[in-house]
């Protein structure tokens, strides 16, 4: 980038995040693969899940993120009710010393879609308890608005169900969420390849969160690099302002005399 091309940093809950690509750590074959992918992605914020301690397994992913200087974003993956999610968030804050939480309350295992009723309930409780709440939500503009009104620091609509790689199935809903939101919008889930990450940013999202598209790619490190470029390109295109779509051709060369 030239120096004349400037952009504001992403700010979530008052803290600057140095990259607009937020990564997940699930699905990587091993920590060495994950490390190369995280470095290639340029990410500054990365999710972890909370699970029962396995004394044999150790705390490898936390050590890795610390060593790379990447901030941790604990999630509440696997929670099905507001009560479970609130307890998991409190345990994460205690274990990791962060008030950031990616709030997930899943309705069923088949779709992994958010349960909107439980999600909003959990968001309200966690905001009251002082958390910086980043809810994983449906691509529903009404729910996004209610989550923002509840005090969430961002809203994170899905492009399509977790792990499907189906991209952004309802771009118009994402645009409506962006148009109405006063907090950052993070496209979370469903991204399969780089063009879809670029599209999310072109639609006006402030950041993209993805994991599977990188960690289960044939070459995770190369795909992480592609995603980094895609997010930067999509962001630049959004700021530049695309041309309007036209029905008929418009010559780009002068008319012949």
């Amino acid at each position: 980038m030239t120096e004349s091309v400037v952009d504001e940093p992403l700010v979530v809950g008052g803290r600057k995040i140095a990259s607009r690509l937020i990564m997940g750590t699930g699905g990587a074959a091993n920590l060495a693969v994950l490390e190369r992918a995280l470095v290639a992605s340029g990410t500054a914020l990365t999710t972890v899940a909370m699970r029962r301690v396995d004394a044999a397994a150790g705390t490898g992913v936390l050590d890795l993120l610390r060593r790379l200087g990447i901030e941790t974003l604990p999630n509440t993956a696997g929670c099905r009710t507001a009560a479970e999610a609130v307890l998991t968030a409190r345990l994460a804050r205690e274990a990791l010393g962060t008030d950031l939480v990616k709030l997930e309350v899943i309705a069923d295992e088949r779709t992994l879609l958010p349960d909107p009723i439980e999600l909003l309930d959990a968001a309200e409780q966690l905001v009251r308890d002082g958390f910086t709440v980043l809810p994983y939500t449906n691509d529903d503009p009404v729910l996004a608005r209610k989550l923002e009104q509840a005090g969430c620091a961002a809203v994170m609509p899905l492009g399509s169900p977790i792990g499907t790689g189906l991209g952004i199935r309802n771009p118009h809903n994402i645009e409506m969420i962006v148009a109405a939101a006063g907090v950052p919008v993070v496209l979370d889930a469903g991204i399969g390849t780089a063009s879809e990450a670029a599209l999310a940013m072109e639609l006006g999202c402030d950041a993209v969160l993805l994991a599977t598209a990188v960690t289960r790619a044939g070459d995770p490190e190369r795909m992480a690099h592609a995603m980094r470029l895609a997010v930067e390109a999509g962001r630049a295109a959004r700021l530049a302002g695309r041309i309007p779509r036209r029905y008929w051709a418009q010559a780009s060369s002068p008319a012949v005399d």
Partner: protein
């Protein structure tokens, strides 16, 4: 008395604390958090929190995910 630690039964002394349960599990104390019967027990209370018989102790840490 018997308690459950991460879903598995363990015999511990009467008046055992959360700290004792962590020792039984062999868990590291850094980067973990503890809930007893679905309530968070802050780290500062571990040494004095006395477990009751059949207490359900959950010890969680961060793993790859999301």
């Amino acid at each position: 008395m018997q308690i459950l630690i991460n879903g598995r039964p363990h015999e511990v002394a009467e008046q055992a604390t959360v700290t004792d349960a962590l020792t039984v599990l062999g868990a590291p104390s850094a980067g973990v958090a503890v809930a007893v019967d679905d309530e968070l027990v802050p780290r500062t209370d571990w040494a004095r929190y006395r477990l009751a018989a059949d207490a359900r102790v959950e010890v969680l840490t961060a793993v790859q995910g999301g």
